[in-house]
Symmetry: C2
Subunit: 206 residues, 2 copies
DNA sequence: AACCTGAATTGAACTTAACTCAGGTTGATC
DNA sequence: GATCAACCTGAGTTAAGTTCAATTCAGGTT
């Protein structure tokens, strides 16, 4: 469980700007479709300057994914921390999952679209470090949901079922939205949130 | 609704062999991670021969995705065609979705991991044709599930809800499995199928 | 003010893998 | 056995990510 130390920002560091620009580009156009040099342009630096902050285009992507996973976990914890009733905790967790900014929507989309990157190992050390950290966070998030179900089953609020599998399914259902949802689309996020919240409760508690 | 005419196989065509090899490679190692030349090697031809059958590596990927979507739709239709009861039809459809060979598992994984390709348009004509065909098939499959729900709601078997959204959710839940499932993993597909079948019914019919 | 240090940046060169092209081989059909 | 289309290849091109040696810049030291 090696945690990655976030490189502290020097006063003229462009790391944050690069990450923001990359999220926009990767999120809108897709990782493969966006040229690394375009990100540099948008930040206002030459393409080679990117390598001062990230070892590679993929290293940047993995960083975005890790940060998003960390955020998801934190929000889950925050949303459920003082709710004893399992059903209410579940509802709160789902609502928290969809209580996101447009920028965070892009981050979720990027994360979902590149989960497969976390399987195979990477050549370079820094990339591999990010990958492993992200993979661990995936497991942490899965455990978040599974534990919630286990707790509910133990209290008799949820019927007994394979909590691991059901947890993965609930999570899968929730994040599947990020593959098709567009802020500009016809369905408002609030409506989606409500429907999924109900669906999750029925799935788990019926 | 332009349907793509499958190039009929000349007696010494290696198209099918290429597709099979590509599914193995793309499915196991990932599309980006596998070199196009590796696929050629595995088939036993030079890399340039690939371009006799596919305009590009991406064209091959899009073809795989379209074929898989066509298969999914066909299986759905076959599984539900003579089941009047909506709940039973839903159960049959879910079971059909998981009644797949290991090779088809790879195809589903490839499809799910590259859905984002279907958003943006492609440069070349043949690629774009495959993309559009695939995109249409996605909508067809979504309609398959939505119609099933609409039918069930009309008959009073399912409570009234946004069928479009709920259909997308059910589908999202079902296919989310292909991101993590491995035939070599600890959970047998039959067990997954059963749990998801139940989850879908509760989600829709409770 | 002159100097030093390390972070930040750059242009030019390199690498890799997808792709193009100009032509060669094979085999079914007449 | 001539023909034609399908099929295949080696050599060369291109595009995008990446490396590297050299340079600029900002802030602190003497």
């Amino acid at each position: 469980m090696t945690k990655i130390v976030e490189p502290e920002a020097g006063p003229r560091s462009k790391r944050a700007a690069i990450l923001a620009a990359a999220v926009d580009c990767f999120g809108e156009a897709g990782f493969e479709a966006t040229k690394w040099s375009t990100v540099a342009e948008r930040v206002g630096i030459g393409q080679t300057a990117l390598y001062h902050y990230f070892e590679s285009k993929t290293h940047c992507l993995l960083t975005i994914m890790r940060l998003e996973l960390q955020r998801s976990h934190d929000r889950f914890a925050e949303a459920t921390k003082d709710t004893a009733d399992p059903v209410e905790a579940l509802r709160a967790a789902v609502r928290a999952a969809y209580d996101v900014s447009p920028h965070e929507v892009l981050q979720m989309r990027i994360l979902q679209n590149h989960m497969d990157l976390l399987s195979g190992s990477r050549r370079s050390a820094r990339e591999e470090a990010e990958r492993v950290a992200a993979r661990q966070l995936v497991q942490v998030v899965e455990r978040d949901w599974t534990n919630l179900l286990v707790r509910g089953m133990a209290q008799g609020a949820f019927p007994l079922r394979d909590a691991q599998l059901l947890g993965a399914s609930v999570l899968g259902l929730i994040v599947s939205v990020w593959r098709w949802y567009r802020p500009s689309g016809p369905t408002p996020l609030a409506e989606i949130s409500e429907l999924i919240e109900g669906a999750c409760v029925r799935m788990v508690a019926s």
